[in-house]
């Protein structure tokens, strides 16, 4: 079983890489975002959301374009493994992000850039939560409806979230409700928890979200008719 999941992950990464522009562009985006992580800003977290959205949209649109779903459903692979592999890919990407981020972080600090702080665990927890939320907007639709039908809904959802994020950055103190402004500023200035309890809480949220999401998407895909 684990074997097949690894094979499926490898298949997806190979497929993405074989697309001449998609592969290198995505890897480039991932590397840049990871390096940008050291800034510890709200914007760098938006990039995490961007990467997750881009990957999801890319990999499912490839599946739609080449109609590979049916082919893989006829291989000796369980539906559950196909679903788990997709989550595995997101986690693999998260892993790569952390590795590059910490490396870049360490290098910057060693080189002597004094404004760079070590990336705290709270940041990582927030990254995981963002990934968990992104997959919860996208995966259930793709697995239930298939890439062709789910495209519209997921693109809309992702675009809305992106719009909100951009709005948060762009908001200037002027008119409007004071409460909203305070909330927006709070989020913008301190986008991730700095203390352990909140960090653990956030990690818990991510784990809980995935814990509920994975069985649901597995069930949805198992019931899918091609």
């Amino acid at each position: 079983m684990a074997n097949n999941i690894v094979n499926l992950i490898r298949k997806d990464f190979c497929a993405l890489w074989s697309e001449k522009t998609m592969g290198p562009t995505f890897v480039g985006l991932l590397a840049m975002s990871a390096i940008f992580a050291s800034s510890l800003t709200f914007s760098s977290l938006i990039f995490v959301f961007l990467i997750a959205s881009a990957y999801t949209l890319n990999i499912f649109s490839l599946e739609e374009k080449f109609r590979t779903e049916r082919f893989f459903a006829s291989l000796p692979v369980r539906r559950r493994d196909i679903v788990l592999a997709r989550y595995g890919e997101i986690w693999a990407i998260a892993g790569a992000y952390f590795v590059v981020a910490y490396l870049a972080n360490a290098v910057s600090i060693l080189v002597g850039k004094t404004e760079v702080r070590p990336i705290p665990l709270g940041y990582c927890a927030t990254v995981l939560v963002i990934l968990a939320f992104t997959t919860s907007f996208t995966f259930p639709f793709y697995f239930k409806l298939g890439p062709a039908k789910a495209k519209a809904v997921t693109t809309l959802l992702l675009a809305s979230v992106m719009a909100m994020a951009v709005a948060i950055i762009a908001m200037r103190p002027s008119g409007g409700s004071h409460q909203v402004m305070k909330a927006v500023s709070a989020v913008r200035n301190s986008p991730f928890p700095r203390d352990l309890p909140h960090t653990l809480l956030l990690m818990g949220v991510a784990i809980l979200l995935w814990g509920m999401l994975i069985p649901v998407t597995v069930a949805l895909y198992s019931r899918r008719d091609f």
Binding site: A15, T68, A73, S74, L75, F226
Partner: protein
């Protein structure tokens, strides 16, 4: 003898179409042609066999074992060629082989390479650059390279030229030199099957019309032609389907000699081929027999 494929009372209901009580069996080492019009239920049946859609009722056994919906063990022994090929367009044939290999316990890389070469494919070409026929050959190479004992082909020749179709039949003849291999082949083009199939299963409007030996079919049915006036009511009863024109009637009959005797004069009796049988059966059903 163990069946390579056994389908029992498969049923599936869609809003506009129902597949009901589909049953047939394919012996080990035999070739079965699955014929029917477009929309008769061939693809639905095959999807049910492969677990691509959920069945409402019935069961499927492959190589003696019940086939569950998500049955990955059984799929090790099945080679499946579908008419839409799901290959990533920018991957080379070689890469595709390498990516698929680990999914199968009995994958044979030398066999895959040999088949690719034998089918005239260049392993360095990208899947997207292949013609439709070449993609089908690639699908066949993938299906054969893992030691599959049952080959299931869903309309593999649709939209392809006669040269390719002949190539495909040649390939299938090579496959059946191994008596452990069985082939299940759906098509609406009966000339492909006329020669290689041992058994024919005919589906129409979601129901199996017959499932039997091709030789028996071709021996039993004949086309009878004659003048319209000489076709009596009793004569009509002997026909599976009748076509009447100004120049006379043409009918398919299982008792051609008796019918010819009844018609008496100006009667011609000819061999019927699979296409005739299919067409007249459908016509007869439509005319309310």
């Amino acid at each position: 003898m163990e069946h390579a494929l056994k389908v029992n009372s498969l049923s599936k209901h869609y809003p506009g179409f129902t597949l009901s009580d589909v049953s047939f069996g394919l012996e080990r080492g035999a070739v079965m042609g699955f014929i029917g019009r477009n929309g008769a239920g061939k693809t639905t049946t095959i999807k049910l066999i492969m677990g691509l859609i959920r069945k409402d009722a019935g069961s499927v056994e492959v190589l003696g074992r019940e086939m569950g919906r998500d049955d990955s063990d059984n799929k090790e022994k099945i080679g499946f060629v579908y008419d839409e090929h799901g290959f990533y367009g920018n991957m080379t044939i070689r890469t595709i082989g390498r990516l698929i290999a680990p999914f199968y316990r009995n994958w044979n890389p030398e066999e895959f390479a040999r088949l690719v070469m034998e089918f005239g494919l260049n392993p360095s070409r990208k899947a997207g650059e292949l013609s439709r026929g070449q993609r089908t050959k690639l699908a066949l190479a993938l299906a054969l390279a893992h030691g599959a004992e049952l080959l299931v082909l869903d309309e593999p020749t649709s939209g392809l030229d006669p040269v390719f179709r002949s190539d495909l039949v040649d390939i299938l003849y090579c496959v059946i030199q191994d008596e452990r291999k069985s082939i299940f082949f759906s098509t609406h083009n009966t000339t492909d099957l006329e020669r290689i199939a041992d058994y024919i299963t005919f589906i129409e409007d979601g129901k199996i019309v017959f499932s039997e030996s091709k030789d028996a079919l071709l021996e039993r049915y004949r086309i009878v032609k004659g003048p319209r006036e000489r076709l009596s009511a009793r004569g009509r009863e002997m026909c599976v389907g009748i076509r009447e024109t100004r120049t006379g009637f043409e009918a398919l009959s299982a008792s051609a000699e008796d019918l010819a005797a009844l018609v008496g004069e100006d009667v011609v009796v000819e061999k019927a081929n699979l296409e005739d049988i299919m067409v007249y059966c459908v016509k007869g059903a439509a005319d309310g027999k």
